[in-house]
Amino acid sequence: MASLVRTGVTFFDRSMETAPLRPVSSAGLPVRLQKVAKFYGSRNVLRDIDLTIEPGQFVVIIGRSGSGKSTLLRLLAGLETADAGDVNLGEDASPGRLRVMFQDGRLLPWRRVIDNVALGLPKAERGRAEAALQAVGLADRAHEWPRVLSGGQKQRVALARALAANPRLILLDEPLGALDALTRLDMQGLIEDLWRQSGFTAVLVTHDVAEAALLADRILLIEDGGIALDLRVDLPRPRRAGPAVAEIEAQILDRLLGGGRRAA
C-alpha cells in the first residue's frame, strides 16, 4: 500500500517545498454522545444513543439501509441537530477540526482539482492542499477539471480535500460505496495509511461487512436506531482477508441476518 501512496511523486518531489501533512501536535478528536435521539416527523430514527469514541480510534458504523447510521454521522458532522441528548466533540471549536467525505464526492465542477482540495483553506496554507493531493497520488492531475477524472480519482480528490485542513476528526459517509471492487480495495488501503500517518479520529459508515472487518478498531452495528452490537477488533494492521478477518465478518453477518430475520 505504501507504493500506492507514492504514485503521485513524479519528476521532482513536491513535498520538499510544501508544508508537512501533519503538525506534530495533531491528535484525534474525542467524541461523546449522551442519550442522543433524533426524530424525522414522528419516526424515531435514533434512540438513546450513548457512545464514547477515544481520540484517534477508527470506528466503523455498519447497518442496513434506513437503520439510522447515516443520520448518526450527520449528527456528528453538525449537519443535523439532535432532538434530545448531547453531542460533545471536546473543547476544540476551530473550523478545521472536522471534515466529511461523502459518497458522491461533491467536487465543485467549476474548480480545478487543486482548487477543490484547497476549498476553505486560507491562502497562506495552500501548500497543504498540494501535499494532500500528493498523499493521495494525484499531484499530476492538480490542474484538471473534475469531470475528466474517473470515479475512483474523484473520491481520492474528495479524500485529499478532507485531509487538507489537517482535521482531528474525519467522517466518511459510505465513501467507497459507488466504486468497483478493485478501486475500493486500493482506497481502503489508502484511507488506512493516511489515518495511521495523521492520527485523526475516523468514523466510517458502510454497509460492506468486509470493509468494516478490514479497517475498524471498533465496529458499531446500528439497528432500529440503536447500537445493537459494539465489537472491538484487535487484529494487527495492515489486515488481509484471512481466517481472523473472516471470523469478524461472520460475527457481524450473523447478527445482521439474525436481526433481519427477527424483524421479518
Binding site: 478545521g96 461533491r106 474548480r111 476549498l119 476553505g120 480535500r161
Partner: protein, 289 residues
C-alpha cells in the same frame, strides 16, 4: 518532446497520404475538394451568396420592382453613401448606446433582485410573487404609458429596454441559485465557507450557466424593444433612420436598417458566446477539445 512531435506527425500523415495517392482518379479528387471546402467553411456561405445572386438578377431584369424590393447593389450603395455622410455611424452609435444603457440598468437590477430572492427566503416572499405576475405583462404594452411618463426622449427608450431585459435576467438568476446542488452547499459549509466566500466560490459559479442563459435571452429582447421604440418615436437611431427613409420611399435604406439590426444582433450574440465559453470552460457543454 521530439518523440511526441514525431508521433503527432505520424498520426497526421495518413489523411495527407490518401489525398495525394488516390485509389481511383475521380474519387480522389472528390476527397480533395471536400477537404478544401471543409477547411474554408465554404458550405455555410453557399446558400446566402446564391440567394443574393438570384435576388440581384431578379431586380436587374425588372421582375421584382425596385420600389418594393431594392437590389442588393442599391442597398450597398445606400450603405456607402450614409457611411460617408456620417449619418449611419451616428445612428448606429446612438442605438448601441441606448441598448447598452438599458441593458446595464435592467440587467443590473434583474441580477440584484434575482440574487436577493435566490439567497433569502424573506426577499423571495416579499417580491417574487409580484414580479412573477408583472413578468406576464408584455412590456411593449407599456409604450402608451411610457410616452405619457417620459415623452418620446431618450429616457423612454432606455426605460423600455430596461424593463424588457429585467425579467429574463431576474428569473434566471433566481432560478439558477435555487437549483444549485444542495449537497455542494452542505459540503462547502463543512469546509468552513460562509458569507461572501460561500457566495463567490459556490453560489455564483453554480448559478452562472443559468444567469448566462438569462443574459443571452435578455440581449435578444433588448434589440427587439429598441427597434420597436425607435420606430414608434424618436429623431435618431437605426429605427428612426428606417422610418424616415420610408417617408421618402427610400426602400434601400429601410432594408439597410434591417440588415444592420441583424448584423449587430449577430455580433453581440457572438460576443456573448465568447464570454460564455470562457466563463463556463468547466462545463461539459462548453468543453474545449
Amino acid at each position: 518532446m521530439a518523440v511526441t512531435q514525431l508521433a503527432v506527425r505520424a498520426a497526421e500523415s495518413p489523411p495527407t497520404a490518401s489525398r495525394r495517392a488516390p485509389p481511383s482518379p475521380t474519387r480522389g479528387r472528390g476527397v480533395f475538394w471536400r477537404a478544401v471546402v471543409a477547411r474554408l467553411g465554404v458550405t455555410t456561405w453557399v446558400v446566402p451568396i446564391l440567394l443574393l445572386l438570384v435576388w440581384e438578377a431578379l431586380s436587374a431584369s425588372g421582375i421584382v420592382p425596385q420600389r418594393k424590393l431594392p437590389s442588393p447593389h442599391s442597398v450597398a450603395v445606400a450603405f456607402w453613401q450614409l457611411t460617408r455622410s456620417g449619418e449611419l455611424p451616428r445612428d448606429v452609435f446612438v442605438s448601441t448606446l441606448r441598448a447598452a444603457t438599458g441593458f446595464a440598468i435592467g440587467g443590473g437590477l434583474g441580477f440584484a433582485f434575482g440574487l436577493a430572492a435566490g439567497v433569502s427566503r424573506l426577499a423571495e416572499n416579499l417580491f417574487d410573487g409580484t414580479l412573477q405576475m408583472l413578468r406576464m405583462v408584455p412590456h411593449l404594452a407599456l409604450i402608451p404609458l411610457i410616452i405619457v411618463w417620459f415623452g418620446i426622449g431618450e429616457s423612454a427608450k432606455v426605460f423600455l429596454v430596461a424593463v424588457g431585459v429585467f425579467f429574463p435576467i431576474y428569473y434566471n438568476t433566481y432560478h439558477g441559485i435555487r437549483t444549485i446542488d444542495a449537497g455542494l452547499l452542505e459540503m462547502a459549509r463543512i469546509q468552513g465557507l460562509k458569507g461572501f466566500d460561500l457566495f463567490w466560490q459556490v453560489i455564483f459559479p453554480g448559478a452562472l450557466p443559468s444567469i448566462m442563459v438569462g443574459a443571452r435571452y435578455g440581449l435578444g429582447i433588448m434589440w427587439l424593444t429598441l427597434i420597436v421604440a425607435e420606430t414608434i418615436a424618436g429623431n435618431s437611431g437605426i429605427g428612426f433612420m428606417t422610418m424616415n427613409a420610408r417617408e421618402f420611399m427610400q426602400t434601400n435604406v429601410v432594408l439597410l436598417g434591417i440588415l444592420l439590426y441583424a448584423a449587430l444582433g449577430k455580433l453581440i450574440d457572438m460576443a456573448a458566446r465568447r464570454i460564455e465559453k470562457g466563463a463556463l470552460a468547466w462545463h461539459p457543454s462548453f468543453a474545449q477539445a
